[in-house]
């Protein structure tokens, strides 16, 4: 479902840019950081689990504010594309200045996201809006499409800026600040390690349950999106038909007497008002309701990707563990084994010597494997912890976003009904004889 191009799972070798990993190697994460401003970083280097850190939670998130607006069309001989203005306001000392303004195009966002995923395999990176238009109804340069995409890109950067770890990513900073961005992009591209590891199934009830729930959630978002698309089509037709209906009243009214004629004219004008209300409703539907549905379907996919990567961490660890165990067993069995038929013996070596050499080799291997196992175990632990924390954050965010989405949807429905209601209530008194005005029935709700 995701239109993301990043389908491959990049190598899980931790790169230089993962601050936690870098922290393991040396305490300084970022050359340009000052000690006093980077409380978060120091604690990162000491602690493994971000959610243990109280300061981060209490910290006011507004030390970094990012916005996307002002889509602008560029026409060159090669292509036509749109750039967006990306503005940054920050008090962080990791940045050279307080304010930045750059222009970026969709491809640049894609570059950013791919890098973030590679740098932070254990964190959930927000999705980008779809690359292509699904139904082909609107073209790439229609204002609705551009506006929707602009809003989605803004949300994307906003979410990243609010992430306690990812917001400090170097590529992110480059994206926000660099004036010679295309050069920076190309450079980074080459340094990307690409390699894919096959995802194997591992056992982990906790994360399996999460995967199941997220999968169902993603499906439901997809269904909701399809229903919403259908509704959009129907609502558009409704507007057309209301506008067709209204004139049938005025047409007929022209041959009626002066009691009926004004009544029919009133009905006609009410219908026109309803058509206008329906137009507003459709606009809200298109710009405010549909995009978040699509976004969360993509977001579910992003979560699934991270879960899969975590599984890889786990499988790597488990394999290493098995290897280690095998080697240990081999070593333990060595004294009892008969080396007479070993290859070494056949080449003329003394079986005893062969045994000794083997034992030494195994010991070395076991040593190396043990170190690696420790490292992988730490990786896994950290991955699990990070992911748990991020999942919690994601769930909280999701609840809030979903509640807002549905509340707003209901609000636009209420606005539509209210608008129509006042149109109809407005004409009723003129239609009724002042003497015979009856109480308009209240519907049973």
């Amino acid at each position: 479902m995701a239109e993301m191009e990043n389908e491959q799972l990049s190598s899980v070798e931790p790169t230089q840019n993962d601050p936690l990993q870098a922290a393991k190697q040396d305490t300084k994460v970022n050359e340009s950081s000052d000690d006093d401003g980077e409380l978060e970083f120091e604690t990162f280097s000491d602690k493994l689990n971000i959610e243990d850190d109280e300061t981060i939670k209490k910290d006011d998130d507004d030390d970094l504010y990012v916005s996307v607006d002002d889509p602008d069309k560029h026409i060159t001989t090669m292509e036509t594309y749109i750039t967006y203005r990306v503005m940054t306001k920050t008090t962080r000392s990791t940045f050279d200045e307080c304010e930045f303004e750059v222009r970026r195009r969709y491809q640049d966002f894609v570059w950013l996201r791919e890098n973030l995923i590679e740098d932070h395999p254990t964190f959930i990176i927000p999705p980008l809006p779809a690359k292509f238009v699904m139904k082909g109804m609107l073209d790439r340069f229609s204002s609705t499409f551009t506006e929707t995409r602009c809003n989605a890109l803004h949300k994307f950067l906003y979410r990243i800026s609010k992430h306690p770890v990812v917001s400090f990513n170097d590529h992110f900073k480059t994206f926000l600040t660099s004036k010679e961005f295309s050069a920076a992009r190309k450079q980074s591209f080459m340094s990307r390690v690409s390699g894919s590891l096959k995802w194997t199934k591992v056992q982990n009830p906790e994360f399996e349950e999460v995967l199941e729930n997220v999968t169902i959630f993603g499906e439901k978002m997809g269904v909701a999106d399809r229903i919403a698309e259908r509704l959009l089509l129907e609502k558009r037709e409704l507007i057309t038909e209301l506008r067709e209906f209204a004139p049938t009243f005025t047409e007929w009214a022209s041959s009626e007497d002066d009691v009926i004629e004004p009544i029919m004219q009133s009905v006609s004008s009410s219908l026109e008002s309803c058509a206008e209300e329906a137009e507003k409703n459709v606009k809200a539907h298109e710009l405010e309701f549909l995009p978040p549905l699509k976004e969360y379907a993509l977001y579910a996919d992003a979560v699934k990707q991270v879960l899969k990567k975590r599984d890889i961490f786990q499988s790597q660890f488990e394999r290493c563990n098995e290897d280690l165990k095998r080697k240990k067993d081999e070593k333990d069995n060595l004294p009892k084994s008969d080396q007479s038929y070993s290859i070494g013996a056949m080449l003329g070596k003394n079986p005893e010597l062969v045994r000794e050499q083997k034992e030494e080799k195994l010991s070395q291997q076991i040593e190396e494997l043990s170190i690696r196992r420790e490292m992988l175990s730490d990786d896994l632990e950290r991955a699990n912890t990070n992911l748990r924390a991020d999942l919690d954050r994601w769930n909280e965010l999701k609840i809030k976003d979903v509640a807002e989405l549905l509340s707003n949807f209901a609000q636009s429905q209420i606005n539509y009904h209210n608008g129509c209601l006042s149109a109809w209530e407005g004409i009723l008194p003129t239609m009724q004889d002042p003497e015979e005005k009856e109480e308009v029935m209240d519907p049973v709700t």
Binding site: E234, E251, W252, I260, V267, V440, D442
Partner: protein, 436 residues
Amino acid sequence: MASSDDGDIFEEEGVEVPKAPIKSVNKENKDDKQMLSQLKITVSDPEKKTKQSGLKMQETFVVYLIESSPKTEDSTMIEEVSSLWRRYSEFELLRNYLVVTYPTVIVPPLPEKRANFIWTKITATDTFDADFLERRRGGLESFLHRIAGHSKLGCDKLVSDFITKEEGFREKVTATGFQAKSDSWLKKVNASLRVKQPDIRFEQLKCYANQLHEGASALLKVRAKLAERVYGIYKIHGNYARVFKEWALTENSDLKLALQKASNEVEVWANSIDTLIDEEDIIAEQLKEYLYFADSLKTVCKKHEAQQYDVEWYENQVMLTMTEKKKVLTGNTKAFSLSGMKARLLGGDTAEQTEQKLEQLDKNIRDLEDKFESHRSQASDFLEEALQEVEIFKKRKRMDLREIFISYTILQIKLHREGCAKWGKFKSLFDNLLKS
């Protein structure tokens, strides 16, 4: 020559016709002798019935129960509750009889034979479909009410027989001989295309009838489209009910509860369209009556034209005969006319013959003038009465249309109030979530 034919324009030679009572039409429907004020009439319970028709064939048709009961204690029309079964074709027969018998009256229309302007929830164009029968039932009831409420039609014996005596209706109607009259004026209707001076008011009425027909058709057509669209939109929203329910299963927080409640709210709201659209369909059926009333209007215009045609014809005949008389008096000087040649060949008329001819012509002229006069006065009476009936119709129409459009408006208000309320509830579910 037929006996005096005052009061009936469709008289054929030798056929006796019961005179239609000419009642003053100035009173409103509050006359105590009015059928409608005395009786409560209902049409209900459409039921299928089968019977033998012809050799080996069976006929299946629908019958409707007509019940009448006295409204007040001193109703003289019927003593007690009467109930009987009638089928659609019997209503048709009654109506055809009334159209012929009361030519000045704009006879109320019957509900349509086949479903027009119907949108489909389920396919509803089959004549035995429940929705179709229900619409027809309503239309038949309205038809009877309008007839019973009419000062002339309501007093007709056959009308009261129709609702009180089940047997023998068909025979009684046939006995009136209305069918022959109906056939004869159909012939005249075709001839009436050549009317030279139709009354301008009827020309206007014809024009209005066309506009009414066109206007109502256009309106009803779009209404049906719109009803289907609105119905569809509500039902599509209903699909969210299932999505929310299934989604709720994956949540385990306040969101779960909110989603489950929201699912119910959406389902209830989506289903609310059923009753609302049914109400709108009923209003549309009432509007349809006026679509078919346009035909009744045109019929009256045609009757006027038929009469006018007769008047003009007799007028013309009188003129022709007078011209003929003149010719005889002045003698025929035209050398190449037929009579001129006859005179040449066979010798001219004797004085006696001329005298005889003149006598005959005078008699003819007198007869024609009488006929002309009677037709003229008949036409003028018809005109006057018909125009009064048109005024009654217009008054009724004004009331009815006003009612219809007010009902429509009230229904819209109801629909939108419900929409506000339901979505308000829905919204508060998620607003509460945001607050906590």
